[in-house]
């Protein structure tokens, strides 16, 4: 399971408490050395080469959904209010200031003066209005559209004057200003014709000539050679300046190359072909760490990010005639005592040590230690106790046969399979460890690795599986980014999709809590609601949280102002102020 668009983009965090966040990404430098000379005198000019895992699918921000495309579009566009990935606070983007009405229903945004698109044409309130019309249009099928639906109604947009826009919300919404991150303002003069013609979703395909593109980002497209590279050049009209008043970006350009696998990206970085590296495994981190001094780069471990890996059981209602065997096994899965025993039987420390070489954190809930603000500290860390697990199983009517194998109250042997995608090496390995852990409890577990598509098809469509290991990487620390996981109607409510109504009382309570926190503006009250969500999670274990891998990044020593963050895009978030030493 890869990153869901919604999770990449749902960057919301209560503004009222953002001040508390100042301590967040304290870089747990393993070997990272801050450059001796301060970053105060960045040099202008130069190029960086960056590897993308795949070729971008589109240049249209409204329909981009995969990580590679989103990373590229991040460099080409700018949003009204931006979330600083390092401080995790909102900061002015194209809007220099904003005010909210007392009831939280009306937001008035004041645009900066003299904004110009990368083709030199002015950017005004009309472009903002057009952009949101395009994002909200159902024909666009924008993956972010859901985020602009608050209280069941699309956000209303209204032009006050040339540089003032007003947004109307149907309902008060916690951290509303954070909604604007991830919605780059689009040029009306270039895109309106296709929008009027009803084919906006097809506009700005990957082969669009650079002359027909424009954005508000630090860079603009210069050249695209399919299969080889994509070159960006400095946007001379970029609106941002550094603290000394010098125009940004410092770099003349960026070159994206397409390197399909993690290992080849690591090798290219090692050989000096690329300048920054992210999304690589702890095993590769070890290899890089040994060579960093000799080869003029450094790698850093930023500590646990927001990604969490988890095991979950198939609780979907599957008609008995379709799979009587699955129905029989679901009787175990539906029993919270069974899930608790499984959780107690799993040695998370071993996962951290053997698979992540210590560069991960064991989890008791899906809220990771990287999420400093929202973690419920009252929940005790996940423990490993086969003995306790056996007691729980015994109490729930399970027994052991002479050969040590576990049987349920009707004498059926406890045997099930764990499905993982073979595209993720770590999760396949976790499955093999869990298989061995659960064997100690007498459970006969099979590990099945299928290719990514086959796995997703079983998890989301056919429900033909027993248990699976998956991972989700939230785009933001805010509970709002977890809405579609916890709501019983949510699209990522993996263990039981498409529920008409909550299947259990605790899922009904989760629905209530999540909907309530969405409209609660007071942080302390919101926190209390979300704490309760985590308590239910730890108690009922709809998913069994396993570990959260650390965010690992690397850069050549010549890259200046390199301040990676745990939020995506972790190495490119400040691309406008990166420079070459």
């Amino acid at each position: 399971m890869s990153v869901d668009r919604r999770h990449v983009l749902m960057m919301s965090l209560d503004a009222a408490v953002a001040a508390l966040l100042s301590s967040i990404p304290a870089v747990r430098a393993s070997a990272q050395e801050k450059p001796k000379s301060p970053d105060s005198q960045p040099r202008r000019g130069g190029n960086l080469t960056i590897a993308l895992r795949s070729e971008p699918k589109t240049l249209n921000p409204a329909i981009a959904s995969d990580v590679s495309t989103l990373n590229l579009i991040y460099c080409l566009g700018a949003d009204l209010i931006h979330i600083n990935r390092q401080t995790q606070r909102t900061e002015p983007g194209l809007a220099k200031s904003w005010t909210a009405s007392r009831d939280g229903l009306v937001y008035t945004l004041e645009l900066r003066q003299g904004l110009r698109f990368s083709d030199g044409r002015p950017c005004t309130a009309a472009d903002v209005l057009f952009s949101f019309q395009a994002y909200l249009d159902e024909k666009t099928h924008s993956p972010q559209r859901d985020l602009l639906i608050v209280g069941g109604k699309p956000i209303g947009v209204e032009i006050v004057d040339d540089s003032t826009v007003r947004f109307h919300l149907a309902q008060s919404y916690a951290a509303a200003e954070r909604l604007f991150d991830g919605f780059p303002v689009l040029p009306r003069h270039l895109l309106e014709p296709s929008f009027r013609a009803g084919n906006f979703a097809e506009a700005w395909g990957i082969s669009t000539p650079p002359g027909q593109l424009a954005g508000m980002g630090p860079f603009r497209l210069k050249e695209y050679v399919p299969g080889q590279r994509l070159v960006l050049e400095r946007n001379p009209y970029y609106w941002k300046q550094d603290s000394a008043g010098a125009p940004l970006p410092y770099l003349d350009g960026l070159t994206f190359v397409f390197v399909p696998s993690e290992d080849s990206q690591v090798v290219q970085f090692l050989s000096g072909d690329t300048d920054v590296l992210s999304r690589f495994s702890a095993g590769n981190f070890q290899v890089l760490e040994r060579q960093q001094a000799a080869k003029g780069f450094h790698v850093s471990d930023l500590g646990p990010g927001l990604e969490y890996n988890f095991l979950f059981f198939n609780l979907n209602s599957v008609p008995p005639e379709k799979s009587p065997d699955l129905n029989r096994r679901q009787a175990w899965f539906q029993d919270a005592a069974f899930r608790r025993a499984v959780s107690l039987g799993i040695d998370r420390q071993a996962i951290v040590r053997l698979i992540y070489f210590g560069r991960a954190a064991p989890l008791a809930t899906t809220v990771t230690p990287g999420n400093k603000l929202w973690t419920d500290s009252a929940i005790s860390p996940a423990s490993h106790s086969p003995q306790q697990a056996r007691q729980i199983l015994q109490g729930a009517g399970y027994s052991w046969k002479g050969d040590g194998s576990l049987a349920d109250s009707r004498g059926n042997p406890v045997e099930f399979s764990i499905l993982t995608s073979s595209s993720n090496e770590q999760r396949a390995k976790i499955a093999a460890l869990i298989q061995d852990d659960l064997r100690q409890l007498g459970m006969n577990v099979h590990v099945v690795s299928l290719d990514f598509r086959a796995t997703v098809d079983r998890l989301l469509n056919t429900f033909d599986y027993d248990a699976a290991i998956s991972g989700i990487a939230d785009g933001d620390a805010d509970p709002n980014s977890e809405m579609n996981i916890w709501l019983s109607s949510g699209g990522m409510h993996l263990w039981n999709l498409n529920e008409d109504k909550p299947a259990t009382p605790w899922e009904a309570e989760l629905d209530r809590l999540m909907n309530q926190q969405l409209v609660t503006l007071d942080f302390a009250r919101r926190k209390k609601l979300f704490d309760r969500v985590q308590e239910i999670e730890a108690q009922e274990l709809p998913v069994i949280p396993l570990v959260s891998p650390n965010v690992l990044v690397g850069a050549r020593d010549r890259v200046g102002n390199f301040h990676p963050a745990i939020l995506d895009p972790s190495v490119l978030w400040n691309v406008d102020s990166l420079y070459v030493r």
Binding site: E262, D263, V266, V267, S281, G283, N284, Q286, V287, D325, D347, A350, R353, L354, I355, F357, G358, E415, S417, L419, S422, E425, K429, A431, A432, L433, Q435, D436, H446, V447, V448, S449, L450, D451, A454, D457, R458, D464, Y465, D466
Partner: protein, 343 residues
């Protein structure tokens, strides 16, 4: 050396190579699934006769190793800890030929020490034990699949060659279609369509069936060629003139002539099919964890960091080379032998 002698020598060598696999439980000091989580990626144990004081020990021994507290990825040798090897020692129980329970192992060291002749993997499992146990699946798959595809190939090739005409055309063109199928994608589709609960036996049969099915066409062509020339021989014509039936001719006069080709093909196909199993398992279509096969032992080499950090993970790949070489030499020797012995 006479060709006949050479063949026997190579066959003896092959048998010797296969013995540890056939008696895997006896040769392996540990169970193939036994995880030693405190010994992940331990390097191969070095066997000593001389200790740190240069004193000779008749009984070989290993030193104790422990993860280096400063750098858990490295192991430090403790020279004061001497663990002698014990031979024919009792250890974890296993089944010989899947039937007889036994617990005697060729060699072992006393716990808490471990002996990893080929190092250990990510879970601290003994690579040597996994190698000999994994050979069971790989060799069996190679042998059974080779036998299967040769059986099919011989029958089909013989019929095509003997009867000729439209039957020959139909069979040979059918074989070409088989060769042209995009098997890999078909296999992925088949695996995705199968139920998740597939037992190791079913996977094994699937592997054998797939490898054998893809493989029958090439031997079939060869056999057909041999049969084509054999059926024109004088003694075949004579037998036919005496009124021998087709079946009798095939059985008595023609098929025996293909015997040499079949044997040579067998020795060529077995290593090829072992490699096919390795490839399929490498791609995730083989037996699942924790059951080892040579393919699954190699699949960890897909990770760059494993290649770069743990050299002993290469050893299974190196060990496969003599096994394959022995098969190919045997094929060579067989061919020479055939030339030496007139028909």
């Amino acid at each position: 050396m006479t060709p006949r002698r050479k063949v026997w020598l190579l066959v003896a060598f092959l048998v010797a190579l296969h013995l540890p696999v056939i008696f895997a439980g006896f040769f392996a000091p540990y169970g193939f699934a036994e995880q030693n989580r405190d010994w992940a990626y331990a390097p191969p144990s070095r066997i000593h006769f001389f200790d740190a004081q240069h004193k000779f020990h008749l009984r070989p021994f290993v030193y104790g190793i422990a993860p280096d507290p400063a750098d858990p990825a490295n192991y430090a040798t403790n020279f004061s800890e001497v663990h002698p090897l014990r031979f024919l020692a009792r250890g974890p129980s296993y089944k010989l030929f899947g039937l007889l329970h036994a617990n005697v192992h060729l060699f072992a060291v006393d716990a808490p020490a471990r002996i990893f002749l080929l190092g250990s993997d990510a879970y601290g499992r003994d690579q040597f034990s996994r190698f000999v146990c994994g050979g069971r699946i790989s060799l069996a798959a190679g042998l059974v699949a080779a036998g299967f595809s040769l059986l099919v190939g011989t029958l089909v090739g013989a019929f095509a060659g003997f009867y000729g005409g439209w039957l020959d055309d139909a069979i040979m063109r059918g074989g070409e279609i088989f060769l042209a199928l995009p098997w890999l994608y078909l296999l992925f589709a088949v695996r995705a369509a199968l139920p998740l609960h597939v037992t190791q036996w079913q996977v094994f049969l699937l592997l054998v069936a797939v490898i054998g099915l893809i493989g029958w066409t090439r031997p079939a062509r060869l056999i057909r060629g041999v049969v084509l020339s054999a059926k024109e021989r004088n003694f075949v014509a004579a037998a036919r003139a005496f009124g021998a039936s087709d079946l009798y001719l095939l059985r008595r006069h023609i098929l025996p002539q293909t015997w040499g080709v079949v044997l040579t093909q067998m020795t060529l196909l077995v290593p090829q099919y072992i490699l096919a199993e390795v490839t399929l398992t490498f791609l995730g279509l083989g037996v699942g964890e924790p059951m080892p096969s040579w393919g699954s032992l190699l699949s960890s080499l897909q990770q760059y960091y494993v290649l770069a950090s743990y050299w002993w993970m290469w050893l299974p790949a190196l060990l496969l080379i003599p096994i394959f070489l022995a098969y190919f030499w045997a094929a060579d020797a067989l061919q020479e032998h055939q030339k030496a012995v007139p028909l």
